[in-house]
Amino acid sequence: MKIAIASGKGGTGKTTIATSLAHSLAGSIKVWYLDCDVEAPNGHLFLNPIFTEQVDAVIRIPQIQPESCTLCGKCVEVCQFHALAKVAKKILVFNQLCHGCGSCTWNCPEGAIVEIPNPIGVLEAGLTKHGIHFLQGVLTISEPMPTPIIRQLKKWKTPPAQALTLLDAPPGASCSVVETLRGADFALLVTEPTPFGLHDLKQMLGIVDDMHIPCGVVINRDGIGNDQVDKFLAEKQIPVLLRVPFSKELAEGIAAGQTLVDILPDYRQKLQHLFEEIIHLVKVSYAK
């Protein structure tokens, strides 16, 4: 079972909910946690894994072999991203524009292109003290593209069949979020009861709808806003699976790197119940 935790708006509490969920279930089932917010991964601050493995996350970029290159320019022609240019005596490659698609390499009539790995970040794996398998991707500063790292992170290791995989998505509603959600059985959307929260939640609902992923909502910081989010969700018949009221005590604990379960042990049961609800909703959606 794969559950992605997303939000649209940043700062609503994705990581808080994702790590708290992992913490509450770690005793009863095998939990794998994938931190897909590779630009600013924070899950490790709460679950404190001991990292034992690290590999480079790479994009395969073209390297032109000058002795075979005839400067025909076919590679420049096929590249959709303008990552190649032909000058008088050679072909130039622009790494940061390259998507690593391989098209230039396939299409070179002279076979003059080889692909070399261009590291754009790292993938790290380890175990937490509660036995959670923790994986994260970290984008290197100044590299523009997070999505290839997320793709590689998800393919890097295969959780056992009976494991629960939690994927903490990045904020926003663009392609890095889509890549995180791809293949998930359920999307848990964390929002706050404010106009910003509602606006961005609607973006997320558009995405999970397009991707045919069943979803449910957590309303975090309940009480700081209004009832617009509740009204909207009721109208659309989208289930609210948990409400976390705003409290300074929770805010301070989270700032200090604690999960909800660390701060208020009652949350262990609440989150286990949330998980059971999700299993039920997934079964129902498969039956449709």
């Binding site: 991203f81 240019a85 008088a88």
Partner: protein
């Protein structure tokens, strides 16, 4: 000498365009005869890599110099590799014509 100038419109009296990669037009000019031609910049239509696409266009024209307001790092890299000299507009180059004249008088700054 053949040079290219980034412009807002398609003739010699056109105002210059400060941007290189997404300039609407490139005007190629023969500085000796003042024969000129306007080319619509195809790079503006593209998603990313406009600087590289624009530079590739200029390189394919086989000119010796290009004048614009600024060159992004990718465009500059490509033009440098092709040994095409880059020059910058100043306060007195409001039109393409003025830019060509000042270029001929060696009054334009090189883009390093």
């Amino acid at each position: 000498m053949n040079i290219i100038i980034s412009a807002l419109e398609a003739d010699l009296e056109s105002p210059i365009c400060e941007r290189f990669g997404r300039a609407p037009y490139f005007l190629s000019v023969d500085t000796e005869t003042m024969a000129w031609e306007a080319h619509a910049n195809q790079a503006t239509m593209r998603a990313g890599g406009a600087g590289v696409a624009a530079a590739q266009f200029v390189i394919d024209q086989k000119v010796e110099a290009v004048i614009s307001g600024d060159f992004g790092p990718n465009a500059a890299g490509a033009l440098r590799a092709a040994t095409i000299a880059m020059y910058l507009f100043n306060d007195d180059t409001k039109t393409v014509n003025q830019a060509v004249e000042l270029f001929k008088e060696n009054k334009l700054a090189n883009f390093a």
